[in-house]
Symmetry: C2
Subunit: 447 residues, 2 copies
């Protein structure tokens, strides 16, 4: 075959076990993915794609599985700098004596930038290719994401009280509109509108935020029903659950996502299903803060869209999506008393397709299919804890570890190759992060 | 100082953050551990030990934390070969249609040897330096442990029905006595007596096993109170809980350990505390099989000795003690509704000191103190998910990953150095394990 008959592509990943995560759960042994201009050109057997394409670069995925990147649908990236600051404390002590004072003192654009770069390095190393963020100074979060080469969905936290970045809610909304304009068309960075929570954002702010989101066709994400206390306070104050209250404000629809959704009533679940509103399930954060366990089986049975998130490092203490996957798989077996609940395929789906759909990116991300953006992982199967291989979904749900991610490709660009991060100078990053943390730990840490 | 004034030692690990796990929770920044003849000679500052000792070999632990090895107090090592065979199934289906038929067909000395070597490679890579095993052909498990250089406590599973290794209970007991004699005095391998469970071993077998254990001063370990069904069947058959039944047989004392202990009554817990009987908590296996959550806070409050275990790979699906540590820390916060439950120090203690004490090895293992055996880990802190370092116990409980274990020393011998396993040819091992699994998966796997 002459070169002219072959399609020229940027990259061919070949020889791996391809887990497409398409609708048919297609697995391709000795499979390949062709990538061009940041998109997936084709997925098929190594021999077919080897004949069809002439790649500028080839990555040999022998001994690896090739799968879509993981989507971390809810985090507060710069909180990496508060890692281990104050664990194992009552929620009120944790927030009022440690986290909030630390944030009031420390949160500035430079801290946000380096904290996010640290988060991005950790996430890429663990196979996360997109994170959805709620924090302050989200422009700086976008800058850090671009530097690292990871996808981000920015969401400036909108609150009634003054924030580190905005004196008033209107300032926060104006800043968010600025984000929406400045980042429009960026291949990696999207912007969403993220009022903090029904208890920290007024009805007016919640509604104005939705109006802004709709004007730009953006995703709207807010914390809701994270704790039982929040729900009972909502009932006392608003006469209804957080979900019902948000519905009264007219903000629940297919472009709205609730983070946590731990304490939902049957009526709430029916409401979310009817409105098409999604949930980001954050099992480890909910466990660590003793918030509870979201009703995953009921939510899925009702058809509510769901993704997974790590939440911030202060309540996790890492940004490891594999931990969320296995925690989700195990937790819901315990809660339901049913060992068939949250099976391996389901939890892997949540971390890939589910997350993409919830974030409004189902057409672009979440599976390895021609036409989607080229975000994928190579996972090294040649390790004792992954031998033998009987069921790849079981491996992904229960045995794969974040350090098994060998190579990460985002928007067609190799950002990590054989565990070497190509986009970030980690030694400089660690030095800067440690410098900043030295100022924070002794002031606001537990001891 | 002349050489003659210095103590000659085999090994000096120097420049690390030493987490001693001693009674005072001593941490030594820029600390060192001197090792001679397989034992810890001294623990102190790098400068003091550098002056005092002339080592044959020095390991630079700069940028690492140095801590005791982890003790996996309950597993079935050869079941690595059943990894992912049949997940997310009801317990009865899982056991009767998959695991038991696979065991009946596959369990032979060669399978046991290679399955254990695979387990040992995985465990060493993850920082486990001792495993307590219950399976069949335990001599072969001891051989594999010796090959890999990992400590093992062998326990031939004693059952009423014929086992792959013994036609009768008496044969099983005789085999166990043979183990006790053959392995006496081995520096790495101990032998215990492990009747399978009160429902699978007769009263006579349970009592004869204890008699044998006592004759040799050996640990006695049995499964107990793993599921609610087991407890209700015990009440129906024996008129009492599994723990009370075992007490009636006279087998509960300081040398007895119960694996799981999920469904214990208040009276059971008081009984175990009074008798000095320990529990091996296996949180992930109990979650995955939907068995329940052991009453960790109540057990600890009552003073019951506790260690952690992974259980077998068929219900986990790995042998990662870090997963058990963080699962224990998170699970008991959820169950108790108290975010201060199972704090970081407690769960790290369970995996080190707690496990050593439960296994009757508290004087020899579990902490870095002069006179104890030299089992220790170097953990690489120079990674994004471990930056910044605020509280080392929080890191160990919530953020350290098994792949962060860089170097493992067991009985003074470096068995893994900078992630390179020195005792096992992994490529040969993987090839053998895959060969065997190819025979098992299609016959007994889920699909």
């Amino acid at each position: 075959m002459s070169d002219r008959q072959q399609g020229v592509v940027d990259l061919l990943v070949t020889g791996g076990l391809v887990v497409t995560m398409d609708d048919e759960w297609t697995l391709i042994e000795d499979g390949a993915v062709a990538v061009h201009n940041g998109a997936i050109e084709a997925v098929g057997s190594s021999s077919d794609l080897g004949r069809a394409y002439q790649p500028a670069e080839t990555i040999d995925a022998t001994g690896h599985t090739v799968m879509p990147g993981l989507l971390n649908c809810h985090t507060h990236a710069p909180m990496t700098l508060f890692r281990g600051l104050a664990d194992d404390l009552p929620l009120e002590t944790w927030l009022h004596q440690h986290i909030w004072p630390a944030e009031a003192w420390a949160v500035k654009p430079e801290m946000v930038y380096w904290g996010t770069l640290l988060a991005a390095a950790e996430m890429i190393r663990g196979g996360t290719t997109l994170f959805s963020d709620m924090y302050f100074f989200e422009d700086d979060i976008g800058r850090a994401a671009k530097h690292a080469g990871i996808r981000a969905v920015l969401g400036e936290a909108l609150v009634d009280l003054p924030s580190p970045n905005s004196k008033t809610p209107s300032e926060g909304l104006a800043y968010t509109e600025g984000l929406l304009k400045r980042w429009a068309g960026d291949p990696l960075v999207r912007v969403s509108v993220q009022p903090h929570a029904p208890y920290s954002a007024s009805a007016e702010l919640l509604a104005r935020s939705k109006e802004l989101a709709d004007r730009y066709g953006a995703i709207y994400l807010t914390h809701a029903a994270e704790t039982a206390v929040e729900v009972s306070e909502s009932r006392a104050r608003n006469g209804r659950t957080p979900a019902a209250y948000l519905d009264d404000l007219g903000v629940l629809d297919r472009n709205t996502v609730l983070a946590h959704g731990v304490h939902l009533t049957d009526e709430d679940i029916a409401l979310l299903a009817e409105k098409g509103t999604g949930i980001v399930h954050c099992p480890q954060s909910n466990l660590k803060l003793a918030s509870g366990a979201a009703r995953l089986p009921e939510l899925l049975a009702a058809g509510v869209g769901m993704g997974l998130g790590t939440d911030g490092v202060a309540s996790n203490n890492d940004l490891d999506m594999w931990g969320e996957i296995s925690s989700a798989a195990m937790l819901h077996k315990l809660i339901s008393g049913d060992p068939t609940a949250a099976d391996a395929r389901t939890v892997v789906w949540l971390a890939t397709r589910g997350g993409a759909e919830v974030m409004g990116l189902g057409d672009e991300l979440g599976s390895l299919e021609a036409g989607k953006r080229a975000d994928m992982l190579l996972i090294d199967l040649d390790q004792p804890h992954l031998v033998p291989l009987c069921d790849i979904y079981s491996h992904l749900a229960y045995a794969v570890n974040k350090a098994d991610v060998a190579t990460v490709i985002i928007e067609g660009r190799v950002v990590m190759r054989d565990r070497r991060l190509l986009t970030v100078d980690e030694q400089e990053l660690f030095a800067r992060a440690r410098e900043m943390a030295v100022e924070i730990g002794p002031r606001f840490g537990r001891r």
